[in-house]
Subunit: 344 residues, 3 copies
């Protein structure tokens, strides 16, 4: 076990949090919160050189709510909810089996200044809505958003002069007329200060409540999703942009999590400005627009976050973030938090 690595991240903060709410019904709470900037976790991983340029590597990672000691599961409700896979890599690229980062998530955290922050990143808050309703006032979208896909096969291509590809399929592993596999494909181009990724997701569907959980999977509802993310590093500032379009067919009526004839559009614009060697200012604005054609209702949810990050050491930084969320027909909510993030 020469190569075994035990590692992880603890992110803990203290803040006052408020969501969009009905008038006179503020949801404000003061909280010790784990993972406000990056979800805390512990991991075990290793690599073995098999010769001939071939490598075998495994990864097991579990989310932790450090504030309470709970484990945070993936949508499928599993302990090793951040990653659990084995991969073979070589000149051909990399093939992974198991639960592996979904390319939509990867693109999502790459092209916004708040990364994978489930509390502050407008993108993550709007992606989260795809699986569970973070903003409880918007009906949750049916397509599961898990940061990693279970029961999946993933192929990552080598880098061809800045161009690379990823393909992922999550098997349905069950029988049923409406049960389908889920697919993701993504292409990335990166050259000098510029990078961009185009991602396509086609979510599978289950035909009965409970089926999905039984499979340990969480990718319900027959939705199609396009996502484009890009960044440009000017040196004095790095610019970010993202656009996502989601469409659900009428044919999904009756399926678990189905929202027939719903359309969503998500965009985000962000910037990170290094103010010293150790400090950066982060700003991001994102909008989610949900259109329910059947109900004839359009709802907008907008998140704006402004943050300051200061590096204390090689493995530890501290942050302070102000965030505002507003939504059609609701009062806006303001959150303010400070925290410390420690890699181990």
């Amino acid at each position: 076990q020469s190569s075994l690595k035990v590692y992880g991240l603890v992110d803990m903060g203290l803040g006052s949090f408020e969501g969009a709410h009905e008038k006179g019904e503020s949801t404000r709470t003061t909280e010790v919160r784990s993972g406000a900037m990056t979800t805390s976790f512990i991991g075990f991983a290793g690599v073995e050189d098999l010769g001939g340029g071939l490598k075998a590597e495994f990864t097991l990672e579990s989310f932790i709510a450090v504030d309470t000691g709970q484990t945070l599961n993936n949508n499928a409700g599993n302990f090793w909810g951040r990653a659990s896979n084995i991969a073979l890599s070589g000149g051909f690229g990399k093939v992974a089996l198991g639960q592996y980062d979904n390319p939509l998530f990867t693109s999502g955290y790459t092209y916004n200044p708040f990364g994978s922050s489930m509390s502050f990143s407008p993108t993550m808050r709007h992606f989260n809505y795809l699986g569970t309703s973070l903003q409880t006032n918007i009906p949750s979208a049916g397509v599961g958003f898990d940061t990693g896909w279970v029961n999946s096969i993933t192929y990552e291509s080598p880098n061809f002069s800045g161009l690379s590809f990823v393909g992922q399929v999550a098997l349905k592993e069950g029988k049923g007329a409406q049960l389908k596999n889920s697919y993701t494909a993504a292409a990335t181009y990166a050259a000098g200060p510029f990078a961009a990724t185009l991602t396509y997701v086609k979510g599978g569907i289950s035909n009965a409540a409970g089926t999905v959980i039984a499979n340990g999977g969480a990718y319900t509802s027959d939705e199609k999703l396009w996502n484009l993310g890009a960044s440009y590093d000017l040196g004095v500032a790095k610019l970010f942009g993202q656009y996502t379009s989601i469409k659900e067919d009428a044919s999904t009526a009756g399926a678990v999590g189905a929202r027939p004839n719903n359309k969503d559009k998500i965009y985000q614009l962000g910037v990170s400005v290094p103010v010293t060697d150790k400090a950066a200012v982060l700003a991001s604005f994102g909008q989610l627009k949900n259109k329910d054609t059947d109900a004839g209702v359009t709802t907008k949810n907008e998140v704006f976050s402004l943050g300051y990050d200061y590096t204390l050491s090689k493995r530890t930084d501290v942050y302070g973030v102000f965030s505002n969320v507003r939504q059609t027909a609701l009062q806006s909510g303001q959150s303010l938090a400070v925290g410390i993030r420690h890699n181990f």
Copy 2:
């Protein structure tokens, strides 16, 4: 991850256990028991020097029932139930965020010869009654007793010529008319052979069943608790004493775990006698007196434990303990166990 430490303790014993019981209804069982002397656990921790005397340290610890392979959760039902926190320490003392040892627990295991033994320490058995009814015949007290408090902020002062202080608050993290934060404050004086700690706990309250679990917290019921513990090391023997007083207001009627107009008094007297370099005899007597003013009933529960501990090596010891428990209106129960305790 240079500083990462994987560590823990396995305590396994074999014994015949009996609680206080109705006449002719002995509860005696023969058991392979985990953690009779010290609850078994596994932990992951690390420290990073941030410079200028400042250190960041994190701790993640999970209880284990080694006899069955179960994880033992804290009252809030969480996997990392022994500890999950990050702390900054320096000349100012230490500030910790997350789930961190409650000072009542710390004082509780410090001033009795059986430490944190949930099977043999009269103090721990009576503290346990505060959260869950170890002696099933006494109604459980409402104030949660968790060895660590979740969602908490803890401050530990430096040592001022033998004097030190600890303050802890566990945030309610929810809204509701009766929901309150929980607080603990403790002061310790230690000089030469003498040490004493005075602790005050004010438990919060929840106004509806389920609220507490939903918050991942377990500190219900608006009780006030005073605790005084002291020890004196004569060299040929170390003497221990503890006194605890708990009072619940009438105002808590209707709250989760509320016992309006209940009063509890707990005391313990103990001694540990080193008989050789490697062996010690331990003895402890404790009484819990519960007075239910409304029902007009007073119940006493008394535990006496006599033990022998022998050090096999730097990391391993073996023990044998006899324990007697008796309670108002019940037959007394006798337990006898031997075990091995191994640090790793």
Copy 3:
């Protein structure tokens, strides 16, 4: 913590699986499957030399479904479901307390070419039926089959000129007229190319639903089991054979998992043929015959597996297996899978 070891195994495959099924109701699914050849797990273990030839060692191991990130529990539903124990070893042999490999499981995986494969080994599939019905068409036998027994005391003798013994008792740890301890005894003789083990298991019984789970144990139903396994290594091939007989008394009627007046016979014949230094062909045929005297029904389940294993490196191998299962009154099912197995 000098001796602490973090280790484990990740086995991941891709296959098309089908069980015995009613006509026209194939159960075929395409799956990313964890642990098809060996159940994936992570472990923490350590040894301490206590002097005088005495050693203390502890083991904590948790099964993992790497395909979904789930933990796989033992029958008792526990996180540390592969092993959780402490042992003292020396010239007298070894005594272990806690959850420790049951000798029936040890003999079961030793004398068949597919080892502990829950997907391909006919023996493991038929043993599994003892606890849970892997072939859902055969009623599950009542005697729990857990690879390790919880709440147990195990003694392993030293090797006396090729002869060695194991005794194990799992304590009932509860009260109730029908509740009994479970026992296993095994004797092994190994000399040169020959090895054989005779095992006897007497399963305890619980008298009410839920009792067993409450105890964290899973050894229900008053069954008696005899098992004989043997192997002979010819050099060009290693031969394997196993025979198991299980009988349940009429007296168990009404008990949890009871199947009064049921008899089962299981046999297996296998061979492994090393074709190169790094490759081996494996073949195994096994039959389970269940006779329900009360119902007057006899059911046979037969599994045949043919596999190829290729060693990629010191810690990693790949495999391909074809397996056929057939059962009285059902259509047979065929499975085909390839996988990679990585020790860390």
